[in-house]
């Protein structure tokens, strides 16, 4: 088992014919992902690496039975693409694009929540269930099938954490990038609840970063969980008030520092690692207990 991206997933790629879309379609297919269609308005009838391309999502749903989508469209078109996918009945939306306007992200989040659809991102590396497939840009060779669930705000950092887990003999059930932007689709507890139910997942690692309060607000849910949670928060050395690339990673006075997040998570019973190297050690501790 795995969460969200499972053996039932039949995915389309919105923006499959673009420069990045074409490359990513190839990587996702090579990884074994079931990609059933591409969608680019105006390019219906084309194919990308053997995958048929449709003009709109509805056609891809009707003809190919699609139920998930990954987006490689330019930021200005992301909102429209997400709303189209929701209207067509897609259940899992992976919004990879960065630089999406925040008012658009707010509209996307609202529409997804009202429809009960999973929206990851914007600005997410995507989701990977090793051995099943990946919808997103993460390099497949960094992951191994296993029993640890990972939730991350940052793409590159989640690859790094997975690398350390693999080195220590663990692997991942599913890794989910929730998105690095200030307004994103999922709340961390939504995903924790899925991992809590998943029989294959034994423990969850949260990879956070400074800024915002998503990790702190997940604390009450963590306190109620059966499965152990280990967390790592990046950005101890970041200067206050500066944006560190992810719009989300900005510290305002007294909000969202590593210390704030560490305190909230520890009080909820999560183990908080001081470095990524410490994550597998803490996992070993909590899984033994």
């Amino acid at each position: 088992m795995s969460i969200l991206l499972t053996n039932e997933t039949r995915a389309i790629v919105q923006g499959a014919t673009g420069r990045i879309g074409q490359v990513q379609v190839r990587w996702m297919l090579e990884y074994g992902t079931r990609i059933v269609a591409g969608v680019t308005p105006g390019q219906g009838g084309a194919t990308v690496h053997g995958v048929p391309v449709y003009d709109n999502v509805v056609e891809a749903v009707e003809k190919e039975g699609a139920n998930a989508t990954v987006l490689f469209v330019p930021a200005p078109y992301t909102k429209d693409a997400v709303l189209e996918a929701i209207a067509a009945g897609i259940r899992l939306i992976v919004a990879v694009p960065e630089h999406v306007p925040v008012h658009d992200a707010m509209a996307m989040r609202r529409a997804a929540r009202e429809a009960g659809v999973w929206l990851l991102g914007p600005n997410t590396p995507g989701i990977i269930s090793p051995g099943i497939g990946k919808l997103g840009i993460m390099p497949g060779n960094m992951f191994r099938r296993g029993r640890i669930g990972i939730i991350s705000r940052s793409g590159t950092l989640s690859y790094e954490v997975a690398g350390y887990l693999n080195e220590a003999g663990y692997g991942e059930s599913t890794l989910i990038g929730i998105g690095g932007d200030p307004v994103i689709g999922p709340d961390i507890p939504d995903i924790l609840a899925e991992f809590e139910k998943d029989p294959e997942t034994e423990a969850v690692v949260i990879v956070g970063e400074i800024g915002g309060s998503a990790e702190e607000e997940a604390a009450p849910f963590i306190a109620r969980m059966q499965k152990p949670v280990v967390a790592y928060i990046a950005g101890r050395s970041a200067p206050p008030g500066r944006r560190m690339g992810h719009a989300g990673a900005i510290i305002r006075e007294g909000q969202g520092t590593v210390a704030d997040k560490t305190r909230a998570l520890s009080e909820a019973g999560a183990r908080v690692a001081k470095s990524i190297a410490q994550v597998p050690c803490l996992l070993r501790d909590v899984l033994k207990a």
Binding site: A234, S237, G245, H246
Partner: protein
């Protein structure tokens, strides 16, 4: 991008929110001329940051001669790190009461929040902390309209009545409209003043436009204008995020989280980052070449750590760009590269052929240690 006060006020007037009369001046002569039309004025520096008053950037002038004097003192000076290029010459208004009206985004919930406080002119965050009961809030989900009656309800709860109640509600509704229309992330009128005759005027205005929405608002110019540091401006041109820091080890990372973690590990190893540079997902050979040269321009930098993942980024092109950059350097700068993901073997081969040390494990601390060994070997 933060708008200047006069830009914000121009937008407010378009939405029928009244402001004191003002004229922008770029020379003392223009300031004198403006004051001759307006009577007693306030000379206000136009810089994209708050706290101007405390920093001496807002000064009254009774007549045109004084306005000339104030403007010549302020123009060209540096206030809160910003070079003053223009001042707003604004008619002096007598406010009977000062209020606060603001809009921002609650990121976690993904909604806009309208905030109103009957005591304005002060830092709203301080008021919210010390007297939360004085801050009246209204949540507005994406796509929501703010009906006048809801705004009136909020202001009624805050104790207003009569004409003022109706006027204030109108201002709140129109400010929310401009918040949405202009893709603002912050819109603040502080103080929002009530004049002796009951009229409501925006005495100050802070607006911040979402940088990611500027493609929809070409008339607002570009974010480039705001960056003061030449290296940060150059980074913008290259298409990377660069933040200048004061340490000795330069960083190029292909993601923000990875970059922050690399900073943390450099500090742990007893060194300090000279910069934060994050490429995002758009790496090309040329972008990497220019990034290496950019990081090397920092006077304090003694070594460079490149930490990359090939997910959306092409690792081979990145490696070639690093090699190009290192070859073009005028000074000797030790470089260590860690690069994993798609195409990692080919990328490693490119780097090793050029004699650049490559770390092939996931351990960024190994890369930091390798670079530190080189640096300390040199200074010994």
């Amino acid at each position: 991008m933060r708008l200047l006060e006069h830009q914000g006020k121009e937008i407010l007037r378009r939405y029928a929110i009244e402001t004191p009369q003002g004229i922008v001046a770029r020379t003392p002569e223009e300031a004198r001329e403006a004051a001759s039309k307006l009577g007693p004025v306030v000379v206000k520096v136009q810089i994209p940051t708050g706290g101007r008053g405390k920093a001496g950037g807002i000064r009254p002038a009774e007549d045109p001669a004084q306005a000339y004097e104030r403007a010549s003192e302020l123009l060209g000076s540096t206030i809160r790190g910003f070079n003053v290029q223009s001042v707003l010459i604004e008619e002096k208004v007598a406010l009977k009461q000062e209020l606060y009206l603001g809009l921002t985004i609650d990121n976690r919930r993904g909604v806009s929040v309208l905030m109103f406080c009957p005591s304005g002119g002060m830092d709203i965050e301080e008021v919210a902390a010390s007297h939360p009961e004085l801050v009246y809030k209204l949540e507005l989900p994406a796509g929501a309209r703010l009906p006048e009656y809801e705004a009136r309800g909020l202001l009624r709860r805050a104790g207003f009545q009569g004409k003022t109640l109706v006027q204030l509600a109108g201002v709140a509704v129109r400010l929310y409209q401009c918040f949405v229309d202009y893709d603002l992330v912050v819109a603040e009128i502080n103080p929002l003043g009530i004049l002796a005759d009951g009229r409501v005027v925006a005495a100050d205005c802070k607006m911040e436009v979402d940088d990611n929405s500027l493609f929809r608002h070409p008339e607002l110019g570009s974010e480039k204008d705001e960056l003061q540091d030449p290296l940060e401006r150059e980074a913008r041109e290259i298409g990377v995020t660069y933040i200048k820091l004061d340490g000795d080890i330069g960083i190029i990372a292909s993601g923000a989280g990875l970059g922050m973690n690399t900073m943390d590990l450099i500090l742990e190893a007893g060194h300090r980052p000279a910069n934060f540079l994050e490429t995002g997902g758009g790496i090309t050979r040329e972008l990497m070449r220019r990034s290496v040269l950019l990081v090397a321009k920092h006077e304090g930098v003694r070594g460079l750590l490149v930490n990359l993942y090939g997910g959306v980024n092409p690792l081979v092109a990145a490696a070639e760009g690093v090699v190009d950059g290192v070859k073009a350097l005028s000074k000797n700068l030790p470089v260590v590269v860690k690069a994993l993901g798609n195409q990692q073997e080919e990328a490693h081969a490119v780097l090793e052929a050029a004699g650049i040390p490559v770390i092939k494990t996931v351990r960024t601390e190994d890369a930091v240690a390798a670079l530190v060994r080189q640096l300390e070997g040199k200074s010994a």
